[in-house]
Symmetry: C2
Subunit: 136 residues, 2 copies
């Protein structure tokens, strides 16, 4: 799930994204915390350093990242979308108390789910809800 990114600007270029200042800062946020943030979490963290930052830019940028497949959407919460720089298949656990989302390691070879014929699978998602270790 987590992957080390040495030079974010270079990494964006390799994935066909012009590394503007905002894009770099947003991607840096994702790989610094790996906390599956909401748009608002990213915005609130960055706006002190980039006072002109617009929430629209955060949305636009994340959608671009998703299009270029360097970011994944996490749909667990009904109300707000979360984003993940980890794009490999892995699981998530959301705490009902503190709402944090943690990664769960998934060994796909240990999972046997027969998808019926003629279904073409492009994404697999596994998630759990409950109480996290901090809230227990």
């Amino acid at each position: 799930m987590k992957q080390r990114i040495e030079d974010v600007g270079e990494f964006l270029k390799e994935n066909g994204i012009k590394p503007s200042y905002q894009r770099i800062k947003i991607y840096e946020y994702l790989v610094k915390y790996y906390n599956h943030p909401t748009v608002d979490m990213i915005y609130r963290e960055l706006v002190p350093k980039i006072p002109t930052l617009s929430k629209t830019t955060v949305y636009n940028t994340l959608n671009l990242f998703i299009e270029k497949k360097i970011t994944a959407i996490i749909v667990i919460d009904e109300n707000e979308t979360r984003y993940d720089a980890g794009t490999s298949v892995h699981g998530h656990f959301q705490c009902n108390e503190c709402a944090r989302i943690d990664d769960i390691d998934i060994d796909l070879s240990k999972i046997e789910i027969p998808i019926p014929e003629h279904y073409e699978v492009s994404e697999q998602h596994f998630y759990f809800k409950g109480k996290c270790s901090n809230c227990n």
Copy 2:
């Protein structure tokens, strides 16, 4: 996942829900189609038979069903919540083309996902995306 319900009114009563006309019709929709509908799908189907039906009632009723645990929320689509009268643990497959959601049988004994200590799991969700057999 699917379960036979003989008498919907009786079933609601058993689960502590007063079986009003609207509630019965909404639950009947869920068990008739088992199609993981949106609120709007339910509303559009029922409003010809119940001309005074309000979308708020559909929301209220589904939230009541969820509270009483006879209906589950399915969060796959980013934009709209879907509802499922099947409350046992099972998987889902959403087609990227036609947006339909099908059930996927899950044999929990064939799935090995070690959740870290001190995590208390209350819900497990498995879903897939891709192209369904109809769209292939």
